[in-house]
Symmetry: C2
Subunit: 364 residues, 2 copies
């Protein structure tokens, strides 16, 4: 069973297709396109086209310094303004191709086949890229949505639990951010691992349609879409402080718990809010305990002062205040500006301490 729906963006309207065994279809349809493929998929993607490159999905390759190589390959394949690119891979491949396709001859069209759950259930729609430059992670980026997205859930078989959980944490975040009904409905159908294809397809469809609401109402991150950064400000500092030993999606899960603790300590939540955030905390904790508890043991020791320093440097803050997405009142998310005072810093450290304890982080 295939399913499809469309997403409206300012530059184009694009189609999202979800199903099994779509890879062959996409390849046959785009034989003349230029393929950019995660090098991990060498054995999985049949090379039935002329123009392609494989790229290792590393942070180093997701950098402006590497973009010229890719543009050069596109030029050598004589791509022009009417040419098309097909990207097959996870978030890093998506970032690279979004950026490269957006600037090549002022933008050419592309098709995206996400191959991670995070790509399928979250990042494939919205059109964002994030690119490293001179060692600064994600300092640059832009918006250039694909012309079409084909989600082949068969790729999920290639993923391990860590990769699946990364997707689930972003998925629950999107659902939580929308409203209480969407959140509860997500919890109702959140699956046990391993995921089977039909469960995955239902879940992906449900969550992407929620994300569609956010990006159609606020494509360029001005207002509603900003609350999808829930957990992210706390999470980025965890990632950078551990040299990215913690995968992004896992850090988002931890970041949401830390944000909830911050809200509780600030007395931002009423009884309903406490109840709603407890549900989310329990969901996140449950997944860690059930599926990735072995991972935690491998995470490096965290120095919370160093974490705070990285938190300080997050690009989302303003000059004199922290900008944090927090649950407030009945648990709905809002963006809060908090003056950069010593008092605020102490509260941030406290929230990290409590949150990391809750998730069972071994060493901080």
């Amino acid at each position: 069973m295939q399913e499809s729906f469309s997403v409206v963006s300012s530059s184009n309207s694009y189609q999202v297709q979800i199903g099994e065994n779509l890879l062959e279809q996409v390849i046959n349809k785009h034989k003349d396109s230029f393929f950019i493929i995660d090098s991990n998929l060498k054995k999985i993607v049949p090379i039935k086209f002329k123009n392609y490159i494989f790229i290792e999905a590393t942070e180093k390759n997701k950098s402006l310094e590497k973009i010229p190589e890719i543009i050069l390959k596109m030029r050598e394949a004589r791509l022009n303004r009417t040419s098309h690119v097909v990207a097959i891979g996870g978030g890093i491949i998506q970032d690279i191709v979004t950026f490269a396709a957006s600037i090549y001859m002022r933008g050419i069209s592309w098709t995206y086949m996400p191959t991670t759950l995070l790509g399928m259930i979250d990042s494939c729609v919205g059109g964002k890229s994030a690119i490293n430059i001179l060692g600064y992670k994600n300092l640059i980026g832009n918006f250039h949505p694909p012309k079409s997205i084909s989600i082949d859930v068969s790729f999920l078989e290639t993923l391990n639990n860590e990769q699946i959980v990364c997707g689930l944490y972003e998925a629950v975040k999107i659902s939580y951010a929308k409203d209480i009904e969407t959140f509860l409905s997500y919890l109702d159908c959140s699956p046990k691992l391993p995921l089977n294809n039909s469960t995955a397809q239902n879940l992906i469809s449900k969550v992407l349609k929620t994300k569609k609401w956010f990006i159609e109402i606020d494509e360029f991150d001005q207002k509603e879409r900003l609350i999808l950064n829930f957990g992210h400000t706390f999470c980025h500092a965890l990632e950078s402080s551990t040299d990215f030993a913690i995968a992004h999606g896992i850090a988002v899960g931890m970041g949401m718990i830390i944000a909830i603790q911050f809200s509780k300590n600030e007395n931002l939540l009423n009884d309903k809010g406490i109840e709603r955030t407890e549900l989310l905390k329990n969901y996140i904790k449950g997944i860690i305990n059930n599926y990735i508890s072995d991972l935690l043991e491998k995470y490096p020791k965290l120095d919370l002062n160093y974490v705070l320093k990285n938190f300080d440097n997050d690009k989302k803050h303003e000059t004199n205040s922290y900008r944090i997405i927090l649950p407030k009142d009945d648990g709905g998310l809002v963006m809060i500006n908090k003056d950069k005072t010593e008092n605020a810093r102490q509260k941030i450290i406290k929230a990290y301490q409590e949150g990391l304890k809750i998730v069972g982080y071994p060493n901080f």
Copy 2:
């Protein structure tokens, strides 16, 4: 007398302000912004702000390879998503800042003060950038219009005849492209050099409002705006074949005459079309004779086979056909696809020969 009007784009609506002595105003309004200034203007722009860089307006600096340096300066000045950039300079500075501002933290706002007539009368609106990469000229670029444009015609005093003519040729092109009335009305008020400020202001206002029509109806170069490439396909090959000894605007003038010859040889024009294109040819020739005839003597020898090779490589063509903007019937512009045959190549060379002879190119 100041004047202002707005341009609507998909991402924002921006204000264009035209007048004298606006520099001081802009600086006072944006003291906290990050200034990027053409290094030729060191003696003209008073440094009454903290964060700034000067950039030499060279093709080498208008390259992706140089972008990291600029992004680094922006990061070191601690610019965040709410920060603002002010660009003061001609087309190269505009290209660099459009691109850098568009990717820094996924896009920050900027103000543009064009300082060349070409910048003031044409490129400042529309939001396009064109950036070199690995030696390929303008292979990449994007769209990121400024939040506001302040045109201070006092900068015109700093320009020589060649720079003024570059602006006039793009201006007559825009006016010709719109319709016969707009073209005739442009010819009526096209000034003798040197330009005085009030004449310049009227002319700039008139032409920008014509360009506004094109970019509001077709921001992303899909249809109507494409005909503003009139003259450009022929012109790019002249520029690259002479190692850019011919300034872009001058080459556009020559390119339009060559395109007209191509149309005539193809019998695309009726009597009215002949009449209208003759008016344009005479205007272009007249300006060369009156103001820049000394320049022609300095241009390098052209090898037309090499010119044709560069014409072939223009990014606007499709795989199997040339895409050229040509006057047709009564002289209105259309995009024509011409199969890449030997016959077509001969006709292109013939048009170059005739066109270059008409403008008095000394050596080809």
